[in-house]
């Protein structure tokens, strides 16, 4: 990375939406926030493409829109060529729109159906007075259409007459009209068929080579991003968990989430034998994200607690049991009925693949006590015992993005302070 000021830099960006509360909640002063973006810092150099990857609802689109100030940031700053654009007045922001642009996911809904193609592209030219007379305007529109690979004679047609790929090209032409230096591409190829997808990706790359535009390329598909991005940032629940060049990102050591995400992508190669990591459960709600590392509820490599000698799988199973107890998502009656007289203890262990006994005798004692509470349907007692005894740094401390062997990752696995599972990082060796 160069030392010079990057083209775009975000610092501690946060975007919270008020979740759908009704006025009773507001009356009582109860508000809850969807933490769509929860402290994201990133920088994009001139001429660079930064890929931003994550599953739906992880806040990647919000990052894009906040970077462009189409949404106000709840906290944090965005610097464009060194100026903080969160502080700009609305007329200054309008001027900025000539330098930064946006390409959308859905080509159908991103073009006004009642305007012709030349109206749509012309609007961009008119707003910023890029051309003054009509002839030059028409010529410019034709040039733009030509540049994105469309027949310039189609300028007075309406969007509904074009296919998805062609519409996406029109969207790109509209963004290009103001000659921007930075474009946020928000899932620009997700709605397209593979063959068309490749056309658009190549077009974006050509434009970058020609005009030196920087991209923030948002996508959910790692294989697409890998092809276009110089660096990739992986997001999970509003935070960036790992950043690096594609090579850095795809070679271990990695953040466990990146690892799982990568392994989940099906490879178009029937003889490829995946060593698949299946993540349990679903992404937690961004209204109330888990404490500590927000991935710990699904992470296959959670650091075991300090005082116990656990096998990794054993520990993960135990954690799953605990999470289910916390959510009260266990129909104990049914489990008891199905247990074939082997007892609740054994049935529960069966269900969660917890060995009998655990490899650590001390832990075994605690577990059997908790399970015996469950037998009496006492969820609270069981929860209290388990939560008190088994504490991992992953559920307590929020990891920060730090340099690892390849790139940067936010994971306690690569923080020597937590190697032993201790939760008191103050006590440094």
């Amino acid at each position: 990375m160069s030392d010079s000021e990057p083209l775009v830099r975000a610092e501690g960006l946060k975007k919270y939406y008020e979740s759908e509360t009704d006025f009773i909640d507001r009356l009582l002063g109860r508000r809850s926030w969807v933490k769509a973006v929860d402290g994201v810092s990133l920088e994009i150099q001139e001429g660079e493409t930064l890929g931003l990857v994550g599953e739906s609802g992880c806040g990647k689109s919000s990052v894009g829109r906040t970077l462009l100030q189409l949404q106000e940031a709840t906290e944090g700053s965005v610097y464009y060529r060194g100026t903080d654009i969160t502080e700009l007045s609305s007329s200054e922001l309008r001027d900025l729109r000539q330098d930064v642009q946006l390409i959308f996911q859905n080509p159908q809904s991103s073009l006004n159906p009642r305007l012709t193609i030349s109206d749509i592209i012309g609007e961009a030219l008119d707003i910023h007075d890029i051309v003054d007379d009509k002839q030059r305007r028409d010529k410019k529109i034709k040039e733009l259409l030509d540049r994105v690979g469309l027949n310039a004679s189609h300028a007075n047609r309406y969007p509904h007459e074009f296919s998805g790929g062609q519409l996406q090209r029109i969207g790109i032409a509209r963004a290009l009209a103001v000659e921007p230096d930075f474009i946020v591409c928000d899932e620009p190829v997700s709605a397209l068929d593979v063959s068309v997808q490749a056309q658009i990706l190549n077009l974006l790359e050509d434009l970058q080579n020609e005009f030196g535009i920087s991209y923030l390329f948002i996508a959910h598909d790692l294989s697409v991003v890998e092809h276009i991005a110089d660096r990739i940032a992986v997001m999970y629940l509003g935070k960036i968990v790992e950043v690096g060049t594609p090579e850095e990102l795809f070679s271990p050591p990695q953040h466990p989430y990146t690892e799982a995400l990568l392994s989940a992508i099906p490879e178009p190669d029937p003889k490829w034998e995946p060593d698949r990591i299946l993540l349990e459960g679903t992404v937690p709600s961004p209204i109330d994200p888990p404490s500590g590392c927000s991935f710990h509820t699904r992470c296959p490599r959670v650091i075991p607690p300090k005082d116990f000698a656990f096998e990794q799988t054993e520990w993960r199973s135990l954690l799953d049991l605990r999470l289910r107890i916390v959510d009260r998502e266990l129909s104990l009656d049914k489990i008891a009925a199905d247990s074939d007289s082997q007892g609740m203890d054994a049935a529960l262990r069966d269900l969660f693949n917890i060995p009998q006994p655990l490899s650590d005798p001390q832990a075994e004692d605690i577990l059997s006590e908790a399970l015996s509470h469950l037998e009496e349907h006492d969820f609270e007692a069981a929860e209290e015992i388990l939560s008190e005894a088994f504490v991992s740094p992953c559920s307590v401390h929020e990891p920060e993005l730090q340099q690892i062997e390849h790139g940067r990752a936010a994971c306690h696995l690569y923080d020597s302070r937590y190697d032993d599972g201790s939760i008191e990082p103050e006590v440094r060796p």
């Binding site: 599953e55 739906s56 296919s163 790929g165 062609q166 068929d193 593979v194 063959s195 068309v196 997808q197 490749a198 056309q199 990706l201 190549n202 790359e205 959910h220 598909d221 790692l222 294989s223 697409v224 890998e226 092809h227 795809f250 799982a260 995400l261 990568l262 392994s263 989940a264 992508i265 099906p266 490879e267 178009p268 190669d269 029937p270 003889k271 490829w272 995946p274 698949r276 299946l278 993540l279 679903t282 992404v283 289910r324 998502e329 266990l330 129909s331 009656d333 049914k334």
Partner: protein
Amino acid sequence: MALLEVEDLNVRFYTEDGVVKATNDLSYQIEAGERFGVVGESGAGKSVTSLALMRLIEEPGVVESGEIRFKGQNLLDLEYEEMRQIRGNEIAMIFQDAETALNPAYTVGEQISEAIRVHLGLNEEAAKERAIEKLESVGIPDAPQRYTDYPHQFSGGMQQRAVIAMALSCDPDLIIADEPTTALDVTIEAQILSLLEDICTETDTAIQLITHDLGVVAEFCERVMVMYAGHPVEMATVEDLYYNPQHPYTVGLMSSIPRIGDNRDRLQTIPGRMPDLIENPPGCNFHPRCPYAEEVCTRMEPPLVDVETGVELEEVASDQQTAACLEHTGDLQKGLDYTVTVREETSMEADGGVTDE
């Protein structure tokens, strides 16, 4: 006799703008327990094929001609009541969008057990028990509790699992899965695919998986059919198709997908777009987009032939590779010119097809 035999299926939609030829002389077979993939871009006629199998094509669509033989019986000849007995019972369907496929006004459990009651004649109690069993088998935690939940209380992945449980409820012999994972995130997609795979192996159920994702096919299916503009253009085992594609469209598709770690700077593309199925190009439908097309391609419609012998087959054995390109009937002069290389292994030559040189 294969489990499912589709023969010369033609589906037409009579719309205001003209007649949409959604499938054209479509023929294929699925063996019992086989995992069969149907691949193509949007508008290729994949979903219509699956709806036709269930006889669920609605106005203004019509199955114009052809046969769909399931266990030797032509489904198109059946009385409505007989067909209804097969739906959900012997052939089940999984739809793309689980959220809309579930009725928001009924509990998930009820929607599963109603099919059980109808087809297996079980009483309320027994049907419920079976439904819970099925919910458990698709990995829904705490199934007895979730039985009484409404669809909106399920997450997207869980809804798709529930839809799968619904399809499994009467132990069908064939499941038609129409883009079952397209709406899901990759991590959830991986869960669902591995679940489907387990089910298939355990119960020996055949699956027809419809998708546009070549990765999913490679991972899940044993045999594939590639569709273009309502035509089957290539049919082969996944190994053959991925390592030795024989139709230019397949080649184009394969070379345009972004693959992780393939070190390419630029993706290859297929120029142009799929025709709208109302007015298709003459001859080979793919010729306007095909780099290997010659004048002959605009005149002759290529039949689906065995790529080795160039003969049109009455019945295709499951390990045979067929493609609908004039190259394989010997009508193409210059031949196909592409190479398939597999890194760190010997490079396979597929220059100009296998048969000619």
